[in-house]
Amino acid sequence: MVELHLALLLAGPAHGYEVKKAHDAWFPDARPLAFGQVYATLGRMVRDGLVEVVETRSDGGPERTVYAVTATGRERLDRWLEEPAAPAGTGPEDVVRKAVVALRAPVGARTAQDVLARQRTHHLRRMRELSEPGGDDVALRLARRHALLHLDADLRWLDEAAAALAPGGSTAAGTAGGPTPATPTTPEAPR
């Protein structure tokens, strides 16, 4: 995303690889930026006057273009920070989509309860990874905490959904799959 690239370049001119490394250090739990994506984004930003090429470096290796933020780029970043982000979770996310599909269009022997139970395990595993003790950096801790709280919100929803679908639960019958029978123990193999 353009604004993040601007923010990463704000500390001083850098080439694409350094932008990628800085991004991955700021958001270690996010998917790492792809090189191709970084160069494509920087190219567009040059075109739009948000960054400029200040030099071409080749420290013994391949040539690298060094970028710097322009005044227009700073304004753009400032406006972005001023604008609150859209609240997440207001549209259906994949967790919800899968549960709805499992209820309305069941395929094979997979029940919605089974789908929910597997999702719970998947979420808990991710939560476990994120619960590993991290560093003292406050920005890192806050980003991780956000991810953990979101996972917890999903898990609470999954539990409510599982309870609603349990025999004697609060759902009315009449969903495409009908009431699902009690699932016996479904141990899953370790990854």
Binding site: R120, L124, D152, E188, A189, P190
Partner: protein
């Protein structure tokens, strides 16, 4: 209190580690139990291996606390078998079961665990004193355990002067003081703030990783996520079980 406690027939001789080898620290097999006519457990099997942290989760009334009481030998189930530290509980009377618990099991229950008017240091030292330890070494170990849970310097306090979180920490200290092989805990960090809860949980998990075991009842996903395995109870049966590691 410095005299050895009475040894019960059938219990492990003093000083001997409870015999479990590599087998599970606790194993429940097809356990069923009902209160009046309300079934709480309807055929549950579960085992905790050495070094393993198992989270017992599920909706309220699903049987979690009942299962923990059964695992601890505090409640004899109406059906099924329980092996605790290698011993079949059905073959043991009340006294030898208590002795087995004192020697090898640390228990943190949800409510009312501290003895009123007893200074914390003596309360935490109780498991050692009941095993016949002399007073001063037991108090030293108790002060160390209190320091581990962040209550150093509070040895002379009595329960009435403690916050809920401090009382819960003290209960954890008492469960760990005798260096048990297995810890059974019912919502052990529920009354702590997130950071305090994380510290106490770190401690319990560390103890388990050293070859002990931890069976943990919790409704908190963040706590369950620390476990190696989740066993989810609903309606008195295992609804779902998964390896998290």
């Amino acid at each position: 209190m410095s005299q050895p406690a009475d040894r019960q027939p059938g219990a492990t001789p003093p000083g001997a580690a409870p015999p479990t080898g590599d087998g599970p620290l606790v194993a429940l097999d097809a356990v069923a139990h009902a209160y009046a006519r309300t079934p709480a457990l309807r055929g549950v099997s579960l085992a905790v291996a050495p070094g393993e942290v198992v989270a017992l989760t599920g909706p309220s009334g699903g049987g979690k606390s009942t299962l923990l009481h059964v695992a601890a030998g505090l409640l004899a189930p109406q059906a099924g078998r329980v092996r605790l530290l290698g011993q079949d509980l059905a073959g043991l009377g009340e006294a030898p079961r208590a002795a087995l618990r004192r020697r090898g099991v640390g228990i943190v229950l949800q409510y009312g665990q501290l003895v009123p008017d007893l200074p914390l240091v003596d309360d935490v030292a109780l498991p050692l004193l009941l095993e016949g330890s002399a007073l001063e070494p037991a108090r030293t170990a108790a002060r160390e355990a209190l320091a581990l849970v962040g209550l150093e310097g509070l040895g002379d306090a009595v329960p009435a002067g403690l916050s809920g979180g401090q009382a819960q920490r003290a209960a954890v200290a008492r469960a760990l003081v005798a260096q048990p092989r297995l810890v059974l805990a019912d919502e052990p960090v529920a009354s702590l703030d997130p950071e305090g809860g994380r510290q106490v949980l770190d401690l319990l998990v560390t103890v388990a990783r050293r070859g002990g075991g931890l069976l943990l009842v919790t409704h908190d996903n963040a706590v369950a996520a620390r476990a190696d395995r989740e066993v989810r109870l609903a309606g008195g049966v295992v609804a779902h079980e998964a390896v998290l590691r």
